[in-house]
Subunit: 416 residues, 2 copies
């Protein structure tokens, strides 16, 4: 293992306090799956009746735990979540699925919950067999030590090469009753040598039925986790799940059966905020990053077209290296818009860096000031706005980080 | 301007001698468009009746010269080609198109050819106005000095940040008569700060009618220039043209009207070979590259699916940095196959580095030797072969280079 990396310069300056959510407890353990001297297994225990929703990687080569979760999420109920770091149990063949199943069997035995309510994730090295035997007897000990206030330790246990634990929290009112939403996340895309997986788990005491929770989750993910990119590499294990214990019902919160229920307005906003906060934290821990970049595209033929253009810009190595070099190189943005394949009008294109318009009607802005733009590019947070000139109402925002020599160093060093 | 970069370590060790092609002459000049002390304009003069074909960037924000060429290529005839380096005349608005037109008017006047038979390209800085007035009177002087053996100088005049001139040649027989094919090219994708454009021009004395030439060119480009990637960034100005003077008809070569003519078999092979040679040379001059990488995908549902998977691997920053780090990191290849979105069977996936099978039936190969694989990865030419397990007959080969810290240094340094 490489020495621990210093905390990302883009890490949030403060970490919020996460209140307890009734109906969920956390335990962590050091199973020495790969790492020494740190926790590498987390167990979340949920009260009976907890509703579950999830979205998973679109990879055609998903990990064994993703296969497991996808088959179980249909039931909509969760009693336990087991996540290990250090080994992704990905590309491990039939044995990988067996080890995932064995992990679930052990967790079901320890918790007394049905296997169909056990969810799994593994993150770490690809292609190494995972020995689920390491979990034999472990879950019983973890259950004995599980605590309602253990979520920060849980966030730490699922880290691989993350340089800081990612947590977020918010409250919302449903029918006049306050509910809490806590979330944790790890790692952007395929972060570091052999390390895969973006994982995020959201917990709430709101009494929301699984189909409604799934609907809220699926919608929220589009403009949060599915609008970020570090290096355009999708992992085999990406997982985002939400668990609603429903404990707030005891305090009078109404049971919500459908996502269209108007009483969810405030909750949806808060839920989206937690996801966006975590998604941004994932970008802010991108390898070697020094700039946080927001890309807004307007005037596209549709929102989908706008997102495609925005990702074309966000994933362009030339745009990302220009930002790293503090270079307001709008020519590369023009090229990225052009290659996206969506409708754009070269002679109507407008580009802003922050509030500075650098390109106007298909030309360098007559008022362009190299000095002002250079000063802006020295900042830590860079906002790029593009009107692609297609005269449509489509718009999208995506977030990424810059591409630096450190990214190459981190990802090009030999596996060890 | 940065100091001249050293020649790429992957540059071909020898350069072929290009024989004269009857019916075409070359001239170069130093117009000081941006560079000092080097040639930056090339003029190719073709005899009356020369047939022309071309393929151009798919960018939705093409440069003004690309717009010009696309509108003229329908005529199928060419008398002159003007290429300048140092300024791309891209994102220069209506004035850009005016300057392109003015360049063509000057070339038409100097050569006596119709404007519809003048072809243009500009490569260099994006967004800077091009002053076509610099060409006033220049073409007349260039015509006076044009030489049939000037193709190497032409290749040099169109370089931007290329570290070597790219030329290739081949002969073929049509109806028993030998014909020659010469080609030149510059720059892969968007090579360096503000420098855009891949340009390539092929000249032959074969008597092939424009529609047939276009057909051969369009087919050949798929498995050559459209199968390479340096950094996935498509330029606003990519141009590939072919010119057939037909002079070999005087030596008895038959006039060929359609691409399906069987007498073209040998010519098509040779033509494809010249394009492939030039395309490889472009990759071998990718910024900061140290490894030439061939990626073969087999067993895909279709050839198109195979190419999509191959490009997903070739454009993955994680795969490219692993190659730079001499790391046989097949986990990243699995991830790249998975994210391509094409049919693949994780449990049938096979991966080879050279002749070494590293993954077999969805698992690390039982016979995997870290030592042997590491030794292979130290080589300069790396071949990665993937059977994606979809049990189809689709296959494709693409070429790329590794991604090194030097790429970041070249592209992240401030424009100067």
């Amino acid at each position: 293992m490489a020495a621990a990396a210093p905390v990302s310069p883009l890490a949030p300056k403060t970490r919020p306090f996460l209140p307890i959510i009734e109906g969920v407890r956390f335990a962590t353990a050091a199973a020495e799956i790969k790492y020494k001297g740190r926790t590498d297994v987390m167990l979340a225990l949920m009260d009976k009746g907890t509703q579950a929703a999830g979205v998973f990687t679109t990879s055609k080569c998903p990990s064994a735990p993703v296969d497991w979760c996808r088959s179980k999420i249909k039931g909509g109920k969760a009693r336990a979540l087991v996540v290990n770091s250090g080994n992704a149990n990905a590309f491990t063949g039939r044995d990988g699925l067996e080890q995932a199943k064995h992990t679930a069997v052990l967790a079901a035995k320890a918790t007394g919950a049905p296997q169909s309510e056990i969810f799994l994730a593994s993150t770490g090295v690809i292609g190494e067999p995972l020995d689920a035997g390491k979990f034999d007897g472990l879950f019983e000990r973890m259950i004995a030590s599980a605590r309602p206030d253990g979520i920060l330790e849980a966030a730490r246990a699922i880290m691989t090469t993350d340089t800081y634990a990612k947590v977020a929290t918010a409250t919302a009112r449903i029918g006049g009753v306050e509910v809490t939403i806590n979330g944790i996340a790890k790692g952007a895309g395929m972060i570091a040598p052999d390390m895969a997986t973006m994982l995020s788990y959201i917990f709430t005491d709101a009494p929301i039925a699984a189909p409604a929770l799934q609907d809220i989750l699926s919608k929220s993910v589009k403009t949060t986790f599915n609008s970020i990119t570090v290096d355009s590499d999708t992992s085999t294990s990406d997982t985002l799940m939400a668990f609603a214990t429903g404990a707030a019902a005891k305090r009078g919160a109404p049971l919500i059966a459908t996502a269209s229920d108007r009483r969810l307005t405030d909750f949806k906003l808060a839920f989206h905020g937690v996801l966006l906060d975590l998604a941004h934290q994932v970008v802010r821990d991108g390898e070697g990053c020094r700039k946080f970049v927001e890309i807004n595209v307007e005037g596209a033929a549709s929102n989908i077209a706008a997102k495609k253009i925005a990702f074309s810009i966000a994933n362009s190595p030339l745009v990302k290296t220009a930002v790293a070099g503090e270079d307001a190189n709008w020519g590369r943005i023009v090229a990225a818009v052009g290659k996206a394949g969506e409708k754009a009008d070269r002679d109507r294109l407008e580009i802003w860096f922050g509030d500075i318009r650098v390109a106007h009607k298909g030309l360098r802005d007559p008022a362009y000031s190299e000095e002002a733009t250079s000063a802006y590019m020295k900042g830590e947070d860079i906002v790029i706005t593009v009107d692609c000139g297609a005269r449509g109402k489509g718009m999208a925002t995506v977030w990424t980080c810059d591409l630096t020599k450190e990214y190459i160093a981190i990802n090009g060093d030999y596996r060890s």
